[in-house]
């Protein structure tokens, strides 16, 4: 990707495809619960409506396109209500992690010395523990819940952004124009925020986009283990967990949410990779190095 002949936006299949699928998922998450009259948590006549296979009608004639779960709740409706929570948690967690990473990376790269050593060592130490283990420990000790999950995703995800931003700041701080700004008497903090940091934002945005997919998978994992979003509030992870018991009788309960989850994560990855070709240096697109 050196030499910089970027494909035009319309020709970039990864960007168009990823963006299209993600837009469809976000739109469904907004519209389906809005347009439906049902309540994703309400339980009606269980015996009459439970475990209806996808595409079948229940006794009252209501069509369940994706079937119903063990409590007779419509899976389509729950799926897209869950999407609101899962997408929201993923985006919020990743943005929080990104903000923390930008802040710490900027401080580390700009200040240098012992501050830098401390931040980098802390980052290395946290990278040495698998992120899921950290999440499990923190979420279990502080009690499960929406806010805890978002905060914990932020606290455990800043390291890769910090490294990128720090490297960019270190690279840019020796440029003549930075020295120029300082010589002209621009305050140090202002040089950092206005003249140095904007150079690093491209890679940070890429890392945050790639991080959304990761955060969604981690949230679903926590919820699957009962340490994330608590039922009856639906999330993709706890829907899969609830379907586990009925796997042999009604496999769609567990399998359908996973398919939407995978589509979401793949389109985040495609979008992130496409962005990295446009915004950042190639090194930023190491999605494999991020931890599960």
């Amino acid at each position: 990707m050196t030499g910089g002949r970027r494909p035009r936006v319309a020709r970039d299949r990864a960007l168009v495809g990823g963006g299209f699928v993600l837009a469809a998922i976000v739109l469904s998450a907004i519209l389906v619960p809005l347009l439906s009259s049902g309540d994703p948590r309400a339980i009606g006549d269980i015996l009459a409506t439970r475990l209806i296979a996808p595409g079948q009608r229940d006794a009252s004639g209501t069509l369940h396109l994706l079937g119903t779960d063990a409590f007779g709740r419509d899976i389509l409706l729950r799926l897209w209500s869950a999407a609101r929570i899962s997408l929201g948690v993923g985006v919020a967690g990743s943005v929080l992690a990104g903000a923390l990473g930008i802040l710490l990376g900027a401080i580390a790269g700009w200040r240098g010395g012992i501050t830098e050593r401390a931040i980098v060592s802390l980052g290395d130490a946290m990278l040495a523990v698998p992120r899921l283990v950290l999440l499990l420990v923190i979420a279990a000790l502080w009690g499960p819940g929406l806010v805890v999950v978002v905060v914990v995703l932020g606290l455990t995800g800043w390291m890769s952004v910090m490294r990128l931003v720090r490297a960019e700041v270190l690279g840019v701080r020796v440029y003549p124009y930075v020295e120029c700004a300082r010589a002209l008497g621009v305050p140090s903090r202002r040089v950092l925020w206005r003249h140095v940091l904007p150079n690093a934002l491209g890679s940070a945005v890429v890392a945050i986009t790639l991080g959304v997919g990761n955060a969604i998978v981690l949230e679903s994992g926590l919820s699957f283990l009962g340490l994330g979003i608590q039922p009856p509030a639906p999330s993709w992870g706890n829907m899969i967990a609830a379907g586990r018991e009925w796997l042999l009788v009604a496999p769609w309960i567990a399998l359908v949410p996973g398919l939407v989850l995978i589509a979401t994560v793949v389109s985040c990855t495609l979008l992130g990779d496409a962005l990295s070709r446009r915004l950042a240096r190639p090194a930023a697109s190491t999605s494999l190095a991020d931890q599960r």
Binding site: L127, L132, V133, L136, L247, I262, L270, A289, R292
Partner: protein, 336 residues
Amino acid sequence: MIRKHHPRVRRLLTRVIDALVLLWIVTTLTFVLIHLAPGDPASLLISPTATAAEVSRQRAAFGLDAPLIVQYARWLGGVLQGDLGMSLASARPVTAVIGEALPVSLFLGGASIIASFAFGVLVGGFQALRAGPRTDTAITVATTGLYAAPSFWLALALVALATTGASAIGAPAWARLPAFGMQEPAALATGLDAWRDLARHAILPLLVLSIPGAAGVARYARASLMEGALAPHVQAAAARGLARGRLERRYILRNAWTPIVVLLGLTLPGLIAGSVFVEQVFAWPGLGRTMLSAIGTRDYPVVLGLTLVYAMAVILANLLADLTVSALDPRRSGTS
């Protein structure tokens, strides 16, 4: 003292010291984290009818009444002597609890690392060197999707396939794989039959652990082999008319080993996370399952000990990858 040695030895020593310092930071962080959390393990382990005096006696027995710094010093002193303390839930040494679960996880992890890298490099190599653009795109879509699939979902999907799915298409009985546990309930088989039983039970967990790993390795191998194929010395060799197989093996693959070894260190956290879910879903009594139950019962010493073991594994893998890379490619030994 370090300065007198050969640069290579010196580098090795500094790497090892860095790794030890890192390990100490991890342990301290975990210790602080766990003890900052609200809640008290003694209150979970003691019967609800216990009196205040009984609770404080229990706390004293576990050493939970000492100041935090004393508890930390005691714990760190023990770690240096290979003693990770006593499990609060089972009153057995933590090392024994971990030692019991370790072989299960090592077996699962080791086998799936081998499978992931073998299949990943094969698939990635095929995509980069042999496949046409359409096949390449199709495989990329598949590997991207499989890499994104959460392991617990993959586990349930494979179980559904191997049970309901297999009987729906009328597959023979031997194709319906056991979905849970390490062996048949009340297994009486011995010798070869016992191993066969274990192998049948291991197929699904190993598939779940290896598929996302192989997909990740394939994506990575494809990219680095494609880049390698464009290198000037490869183009020159191709222009000289070197046979294709020789070109691929000697000129492209050999250079791609370095990034693949680096990847070996990077995949371990994902593998550990995957094993937590796989052991939970398939009821294999490994480290991941031990971790989950220890978290559930607030068994601090076990959680701390396991975090230490995990961090040790990751740090060691990165150290080994680092050293292998500098042995394979001396140019890179200066960079970290």
